[in-house]
């Protein structure tokens, strides 16, 4: 090994020779050092703003702390409080309803749209529809919340006006605790449909046409072909789209915060909104962290369950 002996000679020579570019060993060392240097900024940042805070959050959940008094270790008292907090069942109920409602409607619609738009003969019409569906995705949750709060307005809102034309009484979309979550679900579907649709579109476009044709020849048409051929073929994307959709829905904050501020009462308060209120309005960082930790664990568990169940229905051809 010529380079080996050259390297040993260089190493004996001087410190600088240790990573000289004209030896194989030197280049290897240069690249290793460069690797650490290149990683340094991202690594410091991720430790300071993601990994560190995550552990601090776990730690804080065992403290009573608001900014006025020094932190006070109270063991699992925050988690006991979680179990007895009379507001939490309603808030978690809202969050679960929001997740289930949003995800089911969004997934069904997005699959239908993706399958439908790829069958259109007119490319221009398909392009127009794709753009129309995608526009709400570009808007901020804040803009969507403000816009829809006017649309759903009880007295003068356009939605109630058209329902009135159809002979339906005005619906208190945002002012009744029993209907407000459905309003938030509609809003979340409206905002995110285009995003989930785009994920499916990629999969539907690349469906192997020869398999679909073969199914037709074998007598599987329409719904039957959809259930037995098309859906199994896109099931890996369904898993991906559902997981993303669920995680997103569990964290919805902007739209209900702007449209109803969680009201009436706690009627549309979600878990993240409650965490925001406890931590940043009441300045209770300890209890707020406990809520954040349970939300994080809930996300991990729900995602884990989805992957575990996926073995039964996802088809990897």
């Amino acid at each position: 090994m010529a380079s080996e002996t050259l390297a040993t000679r260089e190493r004996r020579g001087s410190l600088l020779g240790w990573f000289r570019a004209d030896t194989f060993e030197g280049v290897r060392r240069q690249r290793a050092i460069l690797g650490y240097l290149f990683l340094l900024p991202a690594f410091i940042g991720l430790v300071a703003f993601v990994v560190g805070p995550m552990f601090v959050s776990f730690g804080l959940s065992f403290y009573r702390w608001n900014i006025f008094k020094p932190p006070d270790p109270i063991g699992i008292a925050n988690f006991q409080r979680l179990l007895t907090d009379s507001r939490l069942p309603g808030i978690y109920g809202n969050t679960m309803l929001l997740v289930v409602g949003t995800v089911v409607i969004t997934q069904v619609l997005a699959i239908a749209l993706a399958l439908g738009v790829t069958q259109l003969r007119s490319r221009k019409f398909a392009y127009f529809l794709r753009t129309a569906w995608f526009l709400p995705v570009l808007m901020s949750g804040a803009a969507v919340g403000v816009t829809l709060s006017y649309l759903f307005q009880r007295e003068f809102g356009p939605i109630n006006y058209y329902l009135g034309v159809l002979g339906i009484d005005r619906i208190p979309w945002m002012t009744s605790a029993s209907t407000v979550m459905y309003t938030i679900i509609i809003t979340a579907v409206w905002k995110n449909l285009g995003f989930i649709f785009v994920i499916y579109l990629g999969g539907v476009v690349s469906l192997p046409q020869e398999i679909l044709d073969a199914a037709d020849v074998d007598g599987a048409h329409g719904w039957r072909r959809l259930w037995t051929v098309t859906l199994p073929l896109i099931s890996p994307i369904m898993l991906f789209a559902t997981v993303i959709n669920v995680i997103g829905a569990m964290q919805i904050f902007d739209e209900p915060q702007i449209m109803t501020r969680g009201g009436p009462g706690d009627g549309s308060r979600t878990a993240v909104m409650y965490m925001y209120e406890v931590a940043f309005k009441e300045q209770e960082f300890g209890y707020g962290s406990a809520i954040a930790v349970t939300l994080f664990i809930a996300i991990l568990i729900v995602t884990g369950i989805q992957f575990a169940l996926s073995r039964r229905w996802v088809f990897y051809g």
């Binding site: 069958q119 570009l138 037709d216």
Partner: protein
């Protein structure tokens, strides 16, 4: 000859109900209806923003009627420091894009093309941070930004700095750097290029599509961010545009609807422009799992 072939193919397909004429029409009507549902509210926002205050909130609602009255747009700037908010949003989104591209490109290159001890372990650490939602870290980050430590609350830095470091960006750019064949590196080395030049002159330009995807996704997500500013910013001077339109609406919806909608139109223009020019990258990025919120 070819005519007969087509007929048989079509005959076979007509068994599919969606291929029958009425099935096709129902299908198209449904797709168009969903398109109307997503499009109409936006049309209403735009047309109302151009109407005089007196006519703006009418029953029945008017969808397409423009007075081309620009006074609402003037009012947006008179009611709140809107220009300043636009600047803040550009600084927030722009800072996150620039910083994110630099740190992610460096780290992505290190993970993709450089060999050093502990690389794979470190990569898994970075990947696992993708699972941590923003709400999980915001309380400690808020304390870190507070008076006791960095004292950056109520400044744009409290928004920009944490958003620079994204595991998603590192992962995305690593994939792009890995696609470049390794031969390039050897020939550059023989030609006398040093390691920095190999990165800067050869690999970085080849990863440009990845950087474009990352930049567009970052720009959109930071421009549209409402949660983080709501926590870190409370003075109007430092507010981004998302908080601005909520300010316009007012706590009890006291703001004039036409002025609020004018604000919304102005706030959406930059993302629409980015969409028009970077559509391909944006859609590709979203399909790869997009960063949210």
């Amino acid at each position: 000859m070819s005519g007969t072939t087509t007929t048989t193919v079509q005959e076979r397909h007509t068994v599919n109900p969606l291929d029958r004429p009425w099935g096709r029409w129902i299908q198209m009507a449904f797709l168009f209806f969903i398109g109307l549902l997503t499009l109409m509210p936006l049309l209403w926002v735009i047309s109302t923003s151009f109407r005089t205050l007196r006519d703006s909130f009418t029953v029945p609602p008017v969808w397409i009627h423009f007075d081309f009255d620009f006074s609402n747009y003037q009012s947006v700037f008179d009611t709140i420091p809107f220009l300043n908010m636009l600047r803040n949003s550009f600084a927030y989104a722009g800072g996150a894009v620039l910083g994110g591209a630099v740190t992610s490109a460096l780290a992505g290159y290190a993970f993709a093309r450089l060999q050093f001890r502990g690389r794979d372990v470190l990569f898994w650490v970075v990947l696992s941070t993708m699972m941590v939602p923003g709400q999980m870290t915001i309380i400690p980050v808020y304390i870190l930004m507070g008076v006791k430590y960095l004292n950056l609350v109520n400044t744009l830095w409290s928004l920009i700095i944490p958003s620079i470091f994204t595991a998603f960006g590192i992962f995305l750019l690593r994939q792009y750097f890995r696609q470049v064949p390794g031969d390039y590196e050897e020939s550059a080395l023989i030609d006398g290029a040093n390691q920095w030049q190999i990165f800067r002159r050869i690999y970085l330009p080849l990863a440009a599509p990845g950087i474009a995807i990352l930049s567009i996704l970052t720009f959109n997500s930071r421009w549209n961010d409402y949660f983080t500013p709501l926590v870190f910013i409370n003075s109007q001077q430092a507010m981004p545009i998302t908080m601005g339109i909520v300010e316009l609406q007012g706590e009890w919806s006291t703001g004039s609807i036409a002025v609020v909608f004018a604000g919304i139109v102005l706030s959406v223009i930059p993302v629409i422009v980015v969409y028009i020019f970077g559509q391909r990258y944006l859609l590709e990025g979203l399909m790869m799992g997009g960063i949210k919120g």
